[in-house]
Amino acid sequence: MPFTLPDSCRIKGHSVLTSLCVALALVGCAGEVDLAKALDTAASWQSTARMTAEARRSGAITRTYAVQIDTEAKQALLELRHEVASAEHETTVGRRATASLDSLEQSIHALDAELRR
């Protein structure tokens, strides 16, 4: 069968359709990785809070700025607790998530203590 080029409309139609299918498939997969993402976010905020406390202790940042990070970290903790509570997961994964959020909470307490000095 001789090779024939499709007309430009077909190229456009197929590409848009493929693009949309890929997008929908990816949206479908997105829910499954939510808990792993929440754990990553918790670890990230835990390190951010620690780094902020260290930077505040060494005088590298202002108190005004450290307070903002403290507020953001608390907001992140609140959202993550809600996310973990509403997600369906196995007991072991749930325990790991709770432990991770508790670590974040401890780092926030340490930052709070640094801010009270």
Partner: protein, 405 residues
Amino acid sequence: MKKWSEVALGVVTSIGGFLEVGSIATAAQGGAEFGFQLAWVLLLGIASLAFLMEMTGRLAAVSGRTYVDLLRERFGVRFFLIPLVAVFTVSLLVLSAEIGGVSIALQMATGMAFRWWALPVTFIAWLLLWRGTFGVVEQGTAILGLVAISFAIAALKLHPQWTSLGAAFIPSLPSHDRARYWYLAVSILGASITPYLYLFYSSGAIEDKWTIEYLGVNRVTALLGNMFGGVLVISALVIAALVFAPRHIHVDRYEQLALLLTSPLGRAGFVLFLGTLCITCFGTTLEIALALAYLLAQGFGWSWSENLKPDKDARFSAAYSVLLLVAATPVLLGMDALALTNISMVLTAASLPVTVVPLLVLMNDGDTLRRHVNGWISNVALIVIAVLSVVLLFAALPFQIAGGG
């Protein structure tokens, strides 16, 4: 002598102008999550922008007309509406993100919520555009923007492994989270190859009255400016890779970014970061507001020049006045500035074909460019950029959904 001082100014403008909210945020996100691995994307973006700027500058210097003018004339008004709407929409979003960037920097410095800074920042930007000339906008932001060099100093102080960094300029696939990797790659390209940059550059060439004698200046400015500016963006990625990645810090909020320079530079780093974010975003706010007004004025045939008094080009001046106010609105409403930045960068990447593909035709038009049409190197580069832009058009949406969360 005057020409070479313009080269120096052009390079200095690029140094300060290359770093802005989009490039800082996307490079820092890339470095924090994938180390040096996305450095090749930055290199690709920087090289693409250098080619596009050289071409639109050459087009303006030889023809005495801007790229937008020629686009409308060569392809007709009906076709022109496509790039007009696409570039206008995404640039307006980027303008919002830049106003957000200045406001966030001021929030981090003062503690006053960023939304309250939106109107004062917008007012000062408007006042500068209303009262100033093109030279004031260009030179003022260029000289103040030199504070961005602190990123290069910080990167050097962190002693990166040069062999690892060098290896990262060769494209490679990630070992984890592929969707996020490609999403960040698209965002970085969107932040690097922003249409307003080469549209502004083309209009700037007319404002500065470039002629055919300025082709050398154009080439050197596009090459050196992007090279030095690019070094600063790569520095942002390197710093994030060495400061954030080992601590597993992902950039979820702008506020986290100010910690970047504290590790290598201490208190000075904190102040320099806030200064860089504030000044470079403010400079970019002025440039985008002008670029959008240029786009409308050139598209609809209004008289335009930042060097004219506002009553001599009333519609042009009214355009940037209204656009600044419209762009400030999402910030004023407290919209998440980082999300706004990321969305605008991805949409910018998706909008590239409408300005890049027609350039291929214009740069080979002998009637317009005479003997200064593209050579084979420029044509190959432009074809590669055009193909890349089409890929980005179809990849942007899926990657935004899969990796943007």
